[in-house]
Symmetry: C3
């Protein structure tokens, strides 16, 4: 199934509107191109909804949000909902400031998201108003590990039911769930945390996968998470003894450019509850 | 002649003020450094015209424009005109939203551009108010191919006459024209479309080339298009079997850093009508 | 001592709030990760001070400043002062526009900086209101060379005394001083000037080093300058014949990721007056 999902991305080449932070935006654009999709970035209120209208999917990422772009996120999200386009939310740093937390809440209230993707502390913040965010990385104590897996899976499934969409929590183990089923994914490599924006890139990728596979959002989101993790593994195998996180950043995107549907099928490491 | 044009860029090292999008801005800065020029980015209205004043050329790119930066583009453009500095316009996404189309029109009305560089659908939008823009890439149906070449060349030459400067349309074949002559350029590689911002980089590069060669803007713009395309070819030859669009991005800029005037002269693949 | 300073960065992994330009922000984030620290970027006034509060250090860089982010810089800087967090200032382009110069003055007046890091013309502008800035690079005539070293060292020490913190002037030779002592550093490679943002990265790095070593800000800043220069040297040795400034950018960050405390101790090339 993941094979077909990636084929659809490559064949349909969905145009994805991204309202995203300026830290990792270039990598998000190149990651979308690497998977076969096309990016367009636009965040002024005067054009946000209109740009959404010419796209097939929308990716909202609240890193480096500001009072102007928040309005654009809302306008674009509503337009995407009106048109039935899938919308992905990446609540970067929710829990780290009131502005981010409240913006994430407001976005969830006013927009229906097909997928919400974050680390465990961001998702906990969205679910409960609690949680702590250490910068934009998951709080260590909150990490999803084998020990906390079952518990977290249940939590994510319940939050997905509440949100009405798919929720993806990424960490040492990734959990992707809708209200009924849970994908538990073991792709990825710890060194991905040393590259800024691998989470942002995954959210952009997820928007492309879900847009090209509108009838199977859970599987599409899980496939995106597997694909990103697999590219993290492939890229890591390529690391030479002088390579560090900058080269690794390139190798991950390169790996997505080269990833075949067959390799995704073979390499996807997951179980479904 | 292209040999001398690149030599002038390297020798004069023009300082180029860029008001450009935040998606590809880092690559534009490194591309300018690679060709021997120097970049400065500044987009607040309070300093835009003043920064233009300490530079030798100006590059205006409307990707991720907003209501603040539009005012800065206008102020900087007018200051550059007043001082006789060359100004390049990259109408990213003109046709994709009313804001971008109207901003491009307004810029063209209030500022004299030495060069306008875009894909065919953006340029058609500027020329006629029609045209469709698929994201920031040229609409496939609008692509410049061998079949549509003659027709497009005539169109570009006429639009150049109307705009009073040089117009560069890049695609499978690139056309660079003023009101009298047309350069038809066959450098480049299709994979350049898989790297975000190769068009933006070319516009920045064009600003450097035209600034360092003020008496021959048509030849300077054509040389920039040839140089960028040639670096796309050189970079592509360097691609290993695991390299993808992220490494390619680096290889293109690297190739510009290494490009000698002699190699540009040898590798430039064009005819003049 | 430098050995221990880098060890502290790796061990404490300080979270650094960066309010920085959008040109080089991604490289700053990856450089912080490379050295063992964590980045968070946030520049809206509604969250700036609050984000500062969850971090351990603050890095303010005025490249691509605007009327919104200036207010955020002031708010974040004051909050960092209130909490006793180290604050680094990178006065990018001070002297190039009234806005930048006046903003730098205002920041210096309202915020206590632990370290100010810039090129000689930026620092001269801060010190005297004079100086010329060519783009964001040091004016050639202002370059710190062996000939002007003694004179410059005295100037930097005096300005450090006046500012109440550490001042780092980077160029062909780097000078890092507080009111009493001067580190004169000969690490680095001329080609670093062909990569956009090596100065910005160094400022971010300095914030991490000073934050993790609060009792020895002079030594920590000097260690950061040595580490950055050493990575410039290591990265340069890795350059192949087709590599240019884009690959070099990656190699420098990679080198920081791989840099061991022992290598820093061995490779640091400095004298103290």
């Amino acid at each position: 199934m993941f094979e077909k999902i990636l084929e659809n991305v490559r064949q349909k080449s969905p145009l994805i509107h991204c309202i995203t932070n300026y830290v990792t935006v270039n990598d998000c654009a190149n990651m979308l191109l690497a998977c076969g999709a096309s990016p367009i970035m636009a965040d002024d209120l005067e054009e946000a909804a209109e740009i959404t209208g010419i796209c097939q999917g929308l990716n909202i990422n609240i890193g480096t949000l500001n009072h102007n772009t928040i309005l654009s996120m809302l306008a674009a999200g509503k337009e995407a909902n009106r048109r039935g386009h899938p919308v992905v939310l990446d609540p970067v740093g929710a829990g780290a400031s009131r502005l981010r937390t409240e913006t994430a809440f407001r976005l969830m209230k006013e927009i229906r998201f097909k997928v919400i993707r974050g680390n465990i502390s961001e998702i906990k913040t969205l679910a409960s108003g609690s949680g702590t965010t250490r910068g934009v990385d998951a709080d260590v104590a909150d990490g999803v590990t084998e020990d906390t897996l079952k518990e977290t899976a249940t939590f994510v499934r319940k939050f997905a039911a509440q949100s009405g969409g798919v929720v993806a929590v990424t960490g040492a183990v990734d959990i992707v769930a809708d209200k009924e089923r849970v994908f538990c994914i073991r792709n990825g490599h710890p060194m991905m945390g040393a590259v800024t924006g691998t989470g942002c890139q995954l959210s952009a990728l997820t928007a492309a996968f879900v847009t090209a596979n509108p009838d199977t959002p859970l599987e599409a989101a899980a496939a995106a998470v597997c694909a990103m993790g697999l590219c993290g593994q492939t890229g890591q195998k390529r690391m030479g003894e002088r390579d560090g996180n900058a080269s690794y950043r390139n190798y991950i995107i390169d790996a997505m450019y080269r990833l075949t549907p067959e390799e995704l099928k073979e390499g996807a490491d997951y179980e479904v509850f």
